[in-house]
């Protein structure tokens, strides 16, 4: 397969704010997020349910669904410009062609009434692909690359494929038009451990072969640790910590990241060492309006946290939004990640 060896595009998210219309007014699911995806890297985004990570992922395609609405910010992708400024046909063409999106495996992202091959042709026709035969060849090549029998898969309907196979089909459809930015939303959720490992390996390998810029959304810290170069931790619609993955997991600075890592049970050693984070994740309605969103569950809460929202501070390539990080933190080093 011939690929134009253009350098992977960088992605810069600036001041992204997404609000959802609720009976209590418009509430922010993502507020003022700055996140830079370095060209050619895999960035993992972790967070609890409702932390805004899926909304962030959809924003990369300007596809936040009503009642949600992107109210501020920009998403600059090299070679494409500000995605949030695109609309209509321009936006449709950018989707699939420039930015590939892979759905969660257990969700049905394929039309149940059409074979995969026919859906592939629909995709090609939608993007004015001249040589549909070559598209089918590329698709078969990608599927073979992921360990599937391309001809057989293209002739199948969705219900004839397993979850792991569907997920690989999803990855194929996201890449077959040579998208250089790929967003994977919970790519391994609801897959068994072995299949998870396979999918993660495929993501890593395809990412390197095709010089992609990849964003992986997950709530599974273990999964993201396998593939990502850098890690962004989301809480209450904010990126509270972002940095190289080994450093973030090996020496988390934000109290939330620390709590998250403390909560992971270890394979060896005492299970009771795993501590659940106290309290509950915030919902749109319970999110505090002023001050730090994490203070209710924080073990290092200070007076200032109640009134002033911490600004992201970048130091040594790590960005942390916390008033308390200036102070020495209790070491929660985990040897697996160090």
């Amino acid at each position: 397969m011939s690929r134009d060896s253009a350098a992977a595009p960088g992605v810069r998210i600036r001041g992204l704010t997404v609000v959802y219309k609720t009976p209590a007014g418009e509430l922010p699911a993502v507020s003022g997020v700055d996140l830079t995806l370095a060209p050619g890297t895999i960035t993992g985004v972790v967070g609890e349910s409702g932390s805004g990570k899926s909304t962030l992922a959809l924003s990369l395609l300007n596809a936040v669904q009503p009642p949600g609405r992107i109210s501020a910010g920009s998403v600059e992708i090299d070679g494409l410009g500000d995605v949030l400024a695109l609309g209509g046909e321009e936006l449709r063409r950018a989707r699939g062609r420039k930015v590939g999106y892979v759905f969660q495996a257990a969700q049905n992202s394929l039309n149940p009434l059409k074979t995969i091959g026919k859906q592939l042709l629909d995709l090609g026709r939608s993007h004015d692909v001249d040589d549909l035969r070559e598209l089918v060849r590329d698709a078969k090549g990608l599927l073979a690359r992921m360990g599937l029998d391309g001809a057989r898969v293209l002739d199948s309907h969705q219900h004839e494929l397993s979850g792991g196979m569907r997920q690989r089909v999803g990855i194929m459809l996201a890449l077959v038009l040579n998208a250089q930015v790929v967003v994977l939303d919970e790519p391994t959720t609801a897959l068994d451990m072995i299949t998870q490992a396979t999918i993660l390996r495929i993501i890593r390998e395809v990412h390197e072969e095709r010089a992609l810029t990849t964003l992986v959304i997950t709530h599974d810290v273990g999964a993201v640790a396998e593939v990502a170069d850098s890690l962004a931790v989301m809480y209450g619609g904010r990126v509270v910590e972002h940095g190289p993955i080994a450093e973030v997991l090996g020496g988390p600075r934000h109290p939330y990241t620390q709590g998250l890592i403390r909560a992971i049970p270890r394979l060896s050693g005492d299970i009771s060492l795993a501590r659940a984070l106290p309290g509950r994740p915030p919902t749109l309605g319970t999110l505090p309006v002023a001050g730090c969103v994490f203070r209710e569950r924080c073990d290092r809460r200070m007076e200032i946290c109640d009134t002033v929202e911490p600004e992201p501070v970048t130091h040594d390539g790590r960005t942390v939004s916390c008033h308390a990080t200036g102070r020495p933190s209790p070491a929660v080093k985990r040897r697996e990640y160090a």
């Binding site: 449709r92 999106y101 039309n111 009434l113």
Partner: protein, 344 residues
Amino acid sequence: MTRAVRERPQGAAIARRVAGHIGRGLVMIWVVATISFFIIREIPGDPVQGMYETLLQKGMSPDQAERATAVLYGFLPTGSLWHQYVDYMWSLLHLDLGQSLSTPGVKVTSLIGSAAQWTVLPVLAGTLLSFLLGVTMGVYAAIKRSGKLGDLLALSGSLLHGVPVYVIGLLLTAIFTTLWPILPAGGPVDVAYVPGFNAGYIGSLVYHAVLPVATYTLASYGGWILAMKSNVVAVLGDDFILAAELRGLRRGFVFRYLARNAILPLFTILALSIGMLFGGSIFIEEIFNYPGLGLLLVNSISTRDYALMGGAFLVITVGIVVANIVADLLYTAIDPRVRSGETA
């Protein structure tokens, strides 16, 4: 595009499926024919006996009355119930439904045949029209469901769904034949025309059919639009629609994905309601004076015309059984999940 790698169930499997359906359908028809045969004969009131007694009251002697009755009906019932049943089944095998009792000397099949022409075409037209209209409007109602147009369409569906067919029929009659008389009040065709394949006759047929078809369409439109709207809304929430949009598929493709998935469950209902049309629509036939199957059935019951009743029931049964078979085969053709379920 891609060669079929695995064998799909073709030819032989489909023939086996059809044969199975036909076998089960025949059994079903036999069961219904048997049950209706006995039930009909257990209804109080015997038309031959009735005629005999009427003649007696007119002053005939019993002998005379019996002979007159025999001449009138062409036979006198003598055999036991079981004997009659065997006879009935034997004629049924020869597609002979016997002779009508209320119109002596006329075959039931020809009565049903002539009534069917006044039922099948108008009701079929009404069913298909309401289906097309309801499904199209249902899609719009679903897509525009947060706007005024969507509300309006959904409201029209709920309203029409709630109004009984005879009220719609009477309203339309009042409006278009009295207040604004542009359409004929009743009867299936203007008797001035010679029946046959000529423009005048066919034009008159169509002209007379406007009101009954409109009534039928309006009466069933509500159900279709409501069902289609809720199906489309459900499919809109499915992930593959969002996924298709995020892959940058053209609107046309996304719309087709949506419509095909949403319309699927409605095909079964459509096939069944087409099967039901052999029962006629008594209200519409009554209001617009169409001598159709519904009226035929009701009249046969009131005159205790056993043969005709049995025939009318049988026609309804056959219609529904055939519709079921067609619905099932249609489903096999349009839903791949059903297709592969059968190979497993």
